[in-house]
Structures are given as C-alpha cells and as structure tokens.
C-alpha cells in the first residue's frame, strides 16, 4: 500500500484497536517467558532422573516437594540422597550458569550494538583461562587452597574488563573503542596462557585444557548459591536499565537526546555483564556459544525490547545449557562429555534453522 493511500485512510484504525494490538503484542512476549519457565521446570525434572540410578520424574518432584512440605509428600532416603546431594545442584548450576551467560551476552550485544558481541568479547574468557593456568601450572594466585583456580579466574576476568574500561575511557566509551580494546586484551592473555602451557608439564597442560572446555562437573550447593545470587541480582540491575539500553540501540546521539547518560549506562552494564560472566566461568570454565546465540534466538521470537529480551534470553540460555548438559551426561554414558562441546553441537543446528527461516532483518 502506498503512503498516499495510507494517509487517505486516516482514522481507519481506531485508537482502541491500536491499543489492543499492542497489548497482544506484549502479551505474546510474556507468554513466551512463561512457556520457557515451564520448559525449564519440566527439563529439570527429566535431567534429574538421568544417571546410573533409575528414578522417575515423579519421584524427583516428590523428593523436591518433600523437602519443603515434609508432611504432605513422602520420599525415600535413597531418592532423597540422589536428588539433593548428587543431581539437583548440577541441574541448578546449569540453569543459573546458562541464564547468566545469556543475559550477559544480550546486554553486551545491546550496549555494543554488535551482533557478534558475547560475554567473551572483551577478552574475558582468555583472561579467565590465564588465571586458571597460572593456578594450575605455577600454583600462583591471589587466594589459596581449594579456591585458588576459581579465585584466579575471577580476579583476572574482572582485571580484564577494568583494563578494557580504562583503555576505552581514554578514547571515549564507544562500541568501537571497547571492542578494539577487548581484542587487544584477548590476544595478550592468550599469548600469556600459551607461554604458561609451553613451560608446563603435560598433565598440567591437560588440566588447563579441560578446565577451559567448560563443565558443570565441579558443581556444589555452595557454588550454585554464589552463581544464582550474582546472576539474579545483576540480571535485575540490567533489566532496570532496559529502556536506556533500548535507547542506545537508536544511536548514541538519539539516546542522549532522550535523556540517557550514554557512557555511564554503557560502562555500568559492561561491568554488570562482566561480573556475571566472571562468577559463572570461574566455576565452570569457558562455556562458549550460549552467550552469543541464546540472545539471538530470543530476539527472533520476542524482538529487541530489552525489558523482555533480557529475562527471556536468560531463560533460553538456561534451557540450552541444561539440555546440553543432560545430553552430555547421557549420550556416551558412562563417559560424561564437557558441556562446552555439547552446547555448540546442540545449538548450532537450531540456530542455523532459525537463521535460514527468519523473515525479517534482525540487525
């Protein structure tokens, strides 16, 4: 329809009709979020049944409910132990780690306005690897004991993002300066990791490589607690800035004209995303792909409004990581594959399918 016709039909669409259309447009996004939530609960039940001891999803849910309503639900000690001590924390770790990485990725893509941005764009992953390598090969680090590797990975990750901030600050906080500074940092830490691997023993190098592949095998209730706390708090904080991130998408000048403190929002969101990423990958190793692709998949369904995109990406990320880990545990059982390998095997075909089927431009 030409514009002239559009104009001549002035008043053809009633205001009430427009409002209803918009309400159902928003309703569909909320529905997607609710469905994803339900999907996570269902998949979590299935994931907790898989393993060497055979129990049914119903028994899993009963064991979970029995902990909260002891009188109403009955379970056996055996099932209780399997669910609460062996499997549930790993399932929850998958959910919160996937959620954290996806939210961090969505935020980075939003503030850098770049479809290739991910939580690892600013050199974060190679910084974490370097921190872990330092701990594994030289036994050196900022903290000691069982937290040596974790502490190192976390500290070097935050160090990398502060360095990126410092470099970008010098030239002005724009997507270009941040990405270029991130690439420089990434190569620097990769080179240092390679050097450590070169001087390390064979077993140490193997441990470093395994660490970097990413796995949920090191999960525990303590770690789940930390990841969940950081992820949830930072996600809520990022969601608070949804409108500002949306405005950045229209360009820095427009964002300023709409009242956004562009540099402040960009730096703060970058730090929040880095904090989530650091606290996830210091426990899991670098799990790639989710932070890049979960936001894309979600954007194709719910669109680019970060009020919905951020939480929905988190749920999609949780689904992918939990699904990938479930497959990784079962596909070659009793061998458990690193989940970092599985996420790509599972996600890439799905992503390509959506990518080929898409009707609109997303960037």
């Amino acid at each position: 329809m030409s514009e002239a016709e559009t104009i001549s039909k002035e008043g053809a669409i009633e205001a009430s009709e427009l409002k209803e259309d918009y309400a159902s447009f928003v309703g569909r996004k909320v529905l997607f979020i609710l469905l994803s939530l339900a999907g996570i609960v269902a998949l979590a039940g299935v994931a907790a049944t898989l393993g060497s001891a055979n129990i049914t999803p119903a028994e899993v849910y009963t064991a979970i409910l029995a902990r909260f309503f002891p009188g109403t639900f009955e379970t056996t000690d055996f099932i209780n132990t399997i669910v609460w001590q062996l499997r549930l924390h790993r399932v929850l770790m998958g959910i919160f780690a996937g959620m954290g990485l996806a939210v961090a990725g969505a935020a980075m893509q939003g503030i850098l306005k770049n479809p290739l941005a991910s939580p690892f764009t600013l050199g974060i992953a190679s910084a974490a690897s370097f921190g872990a390598s330092l701990a594994i090969i030289l036994g050196a680090g900022f903290v000691s004991g069982q937290w040596l590797i974790v502490g190192n990975a976390f500290i070097f990750t935050m160090l990398a993002s502060l360095t990126v901030y410092g470099l970008a600050k010098y030239k002005g906080i724009t997507p270009e300066t941040m990405i270029l500074a991130g690439i420089a940092i990434m190569y620097l830490f990769s080179a240092m990791t390679s050097f450590l691997q070169y001087i390390g023993q064979a077993e140490q190098v193997q441990e470093v490589v395994f660490w970097a592949m990413g796995s949920l095998g090191r999960s525990s209730w303590e770690k789940v607690g930390i990841i969940a706390l950081v992820t949830v708090v930072c996600t809520l904080a990022l969601m608070y800035f949804s409108w500002d991130i949306n405005a950045l998408g229209a360009g820095d000048e427009t964002a300023k004209s709409l009242g956004v403190n562009v540099e402040f929002v960009r730096v703060l969101c970058m730090m929040l995303a880095s904090l989530i990423t650091a606290s996830v990958i210091c426990f899991t190793g670098t799990i790639g792909f989710i932070g890049l692709v979960a936001p894309h998949i979600t954007r194709m369904v719910v669109g680019g409004d970060h009020r919905f995109l951020l939480p929905a990406s988190g749920l999609v990320g949780a689904l992918i990581l939990l699904g990938a880990d479930t497959l990784a545990r079962t596909i070659l059982a009793p061998v458990i594959l690193p989940v970092g390998i599985m996420t790509s095997f599972l996600g890439v075909p799905f992503f390509i399918y959506l990518f080929l089927k898409r009707r609109k431009e997303y960037w």
Partner: protein, 261 residues
Amino acid sequence: MVKITIKDLSFSYGSRRILEGLNLVVGDSEVLSLVGPNGSGKTTMIKCIDRILKPRGSILLDGGRDLQSLSRQEVARYIGYVPQSTTSVLTTTVFDTILMGRKPHMGWRVADEDIDKVVDIMKLLHVEEFALKDFSELSGGQKQRVLIARALAQEPEVLLLDEPTSNLDVKHQLEALDTVRSIVKKTGISAVMAIHDLNLAARYSDSLVMLKNGMVHAVGDPSSLLTMENIREIFGVEAVVMRDLDRPYVVPIRSLNAEAV
C-alpha cells in the same frame, strides 16, 4: 514569549573552533531554519542546543533556567531531537520506537497514559497503519514521520531537526515540512531545523539564521534575508532571487569560485 535564548555559544573539537560567540533567540510557535554552506556549523549548532555536544555559553529556557545546568532527563522533557541519519541498528517496532519518546516522562513500567499519548501521536502523523512493523522495513518518508513522532512523544517545547529533508524525494520533503509546520502552528511549540535547501527553508520558516564559519551572519525573515548579496557572501554563489511568489525563490546561476571550465 521566547522559548530559548542562546547567549555567546561556542564549541570546538579539540583546537578547531566550530561555533563562535553565537547569539540567537527562538520565539514562541515559530519555525526557525539554520542555513549556510557545508561546515558552517548548522548540525553542530543543533547538537549543541540539545547538549549532545557540550558547548560553552548559556542556553536560557523560557523560565530563565540555564539548560547547561539541567540533567539530561530534564533537557529531554524540553527539547525533542529528530536525527538526520535514519539508520537504527537494533530491531524495534514503530510503536516501540515512538514509545521510547516517553522515556523522559516514565519509569520502567509503561502507564496507560503513555500508551494513549503514543496512539494519539501516531494518528496525528498517520503512522498507525504500520504500528507493529519493524522500523527498518519502512520507506524513508515513513521513517522520517516516525522519528518526528518519537520526538513529539517527549512533549517538548522545542523540536530540533537535523536536515529533515535529506534522503527524501520531493513529495516527501514537502510532506515532512508541512507536518512540522502544522504541528508548530497547532501546538505552539517551536521548531529549529538545519536545512540545505534555501527554497524549502524560505517557504516553511518564519525566520532564517544564516551561518558562516561558525558565526551568525544574518538573522531575519526569509524575504529580507534571501538577497543576491547575502547568497553571494555566504555561499559564494551567484543567484537570482525571484520575488513574484509569496515567498522568495532562489535560482542559483554559477559558483563564483569555478574559474575553469
């Protein structure tokens, strides 16, 4: 009544002076056009008034407050900005794009009142047909109307437009400026635009500001300002100004610098 009084406004990129000692008054319910050759500071001036760039000098609003001392959000409630470039990187629908204009007024939640205002503005600018289409799918003329709608959703006192007719064909140029002028006359807000086309400027503006090398060369109504002498001095162009229409009409003849050929 006066919307904005600009006093001694200067701006430089590093050591390069772009604007120097500008004084300007934007009256009530008027369309004011900034004209001048490339590099004369039209766009920079628009960006300085909205504090997208940080100028020196003062920009006094109608209550006497200095815009330089306000927060970005307060500025956004007083001034709406329609950018020149119509590229939007992230996907967003027309409805959400215009709703973004409510940002200076609303919190995280969108109130019914905000939705109502967006709907009214969409009808005013005739963009309701493609409310749920993606902004990137629209034609140039449609995009321009949506961007004006977003700026109006800010409920500003002053609308700033940066080259509102670039990238538009002749029909849409007229439509865009008709829209701006009728809104200005209907609602009593004022519009300041940077524009290249002297004839469009003459036809749609109440007053013109001629800029040259970052300084105001002359201010006045189109008929008194668009003279052969002024055009020669500012643009370095020999032109004939026809005055048999209700507004002056400029026909450029030749560039004064083009010695060869």
